[in-house]
C-alpha cells in the first residue's frame, strides 16, 4: 500500500509535467504549474509521516521526550511551508505574464503566441 501511495504521488507530478510540455494554452500551463506544486508538496508530506503520529506541536503539560517519540517529522513540514510560498509566488508571476500576453496578443493560445523563431 505504501509503495502504491508513493508511485501515485509521482504519477501526479508527471501529470503536471505533461500539462506543461504538451499543452498549448496559457491557462492550462498555469494549471500545470499548480499540479507540479501540489505534487511536490504531497511527496514531502508523505515522506515525513509517521504511522499514528501526532502533529509536532507540544501540548500543554507534555514532555519533549514524549513528543519526540510520537510526533511526525517536522522538518518536511517546514520545507513544504516554504515550497507553498514559492508556488504561490510563481503562480502570481505566471498570471501576471499571462494577463500581459493576452493584452498584447488577444489570445491564450501559445500556437498564436510565437513571434520568436527557432
Amino acid at each position: 500500500m505504501g509503495i502504491a501511495i508513493y508511485i501515485l504521488a509521482f504519477v501526479f507530478i508527471l501529470l503536471g509535467v505533461y500539462a506543461l510540455i504538451a499543452k498549448k494554452n496559457v491557462i492550462r500551463i498555469i494549471i500545470g504549474i499548480g499540479i507540479l506544486e501540489y505534487g511536490v508538496n504531497l511527496l514531502l508530506v508523505l515522506v515525513g509521516y509517521r504511522k499514528g503520529g501526532m502533529a509536532p506541536i507540544l501540548a500543554n503539560g507534555q514532555s519533549s521526550a514524549n513528543l519526540a517519540g510520537r510526533a511526525v517529522d517536522p522538518l518536511p513540514q517546514a520545507m513544504v511551508l516554504t515550497s507553498i510560498v514559492i508556488g504561490l509566488s510563481i503562480t502570481a508571476l505566471a498570471v501576471a505574464l499571462a494577463i500581459r500576453l493576452y493584452d498584447k496578443y488577444g489570445t491564450f493560445d501559445m500556437n498564436d503566441i510565437r513571434d520568436l523563431r527557432g
Binding site: 505504501g2 509503495i3 501511495i5 508513493y6 508511485i7 501515485l8 501526479f12 501529470l15 503536471g16 509535467v17 505533461y18 504538451a22 499543452k23 494554452n25 491557462i27 494549471i31 500545470g32 508538496n41 504531497l42 515522506v47 515525513g48 509521516y49 509517521r50 504511522k51 503520529g53 501526532m54 502533529a55 509536532p56 506541536i57 507540544l58 519533549s64 521526550a65 519526540a68 511526525v72 517529522d73 517536522p74 518536511p76 513540514q77 517546514a78 513544504v80 511551508l81 516554504t82 507553498i84 510560498v85 514559492i86 504561490l88 509566488s89 503562480t91 502570481a92 508571476l93 498570471v95 501576471a96 499571462a98 494577463i99 500581459r100 488577444g106 489570445t107 491564450f108 500556437n111 498564436d112
Partner: protein
Amino acid sequence: MGVELVILLLIVFMIISALIAVEASDLLSAVIAIGAAGFALCAIDLLLAAPDLAFPQVLVEIITLVILIRMIMTRQDTSRQTPKDTLRTAMVMLACGMFLIVVFLAVGGMNTSGTIPSFGRPVMGSFDDTGVSSQYLFRCAQDTGAANVVMGILLDYRAYDTLGEATVIVVAILGGYAVLRRIGRKKREVKS
C-alpha cells in the same frame, strides 16, 4: 491500514481531478477541477498530522482560484484544438515511463537494498548519526521556547531559509509589478 487506504483514495481523487483539469475542453471546469485537487491535498495534510500545512494550503488555493476564475471570466478564450504533436507527446510519455520505473525501484518495488523508507517510517533518528528531526522535537521547546515545532524550525533553526522564502514573495511581487507596467520603454525604438 485505515489512514493509508483513505490517503490512497484521496490521491486517486487528486489524479482524476488533475486529469480533468488538463484535458477538459472548458477552461472554467479545468480551473475548478484543480481547485478540487487542492482541497483534497488539504484533507491529506490534515490526515497526515500536518495542520500547519493545511492552513496555508487552503488559503493559497482560494487565492489562486479567485485569480484564475476572474482571469477566465473577463477574457475571451480563442484557443482552438490543434492537431496533437504526437512525436513530442510520445517522447514525453517515454521519458515519464522510464522515470516511473526508477521510482518503482527506488520506493522498494523490487525490495532491493537502499530504497526510500517505507511509508509511515521516516528516518528521524534518535541519537545516532542519521536523522536530524528528533533532535528538533527534543530540543525545540528548550532552545527556542516555541511550542509549535514547525514554527521553531522555520523561524529559528532554519530562519535563513525563511529569509529566502520571504525574499521569494518580494521578488515575485516586484516581478509582477514590473510585468504589469503599462509602458515598459520610454520611446518607441526601431525594430529590426
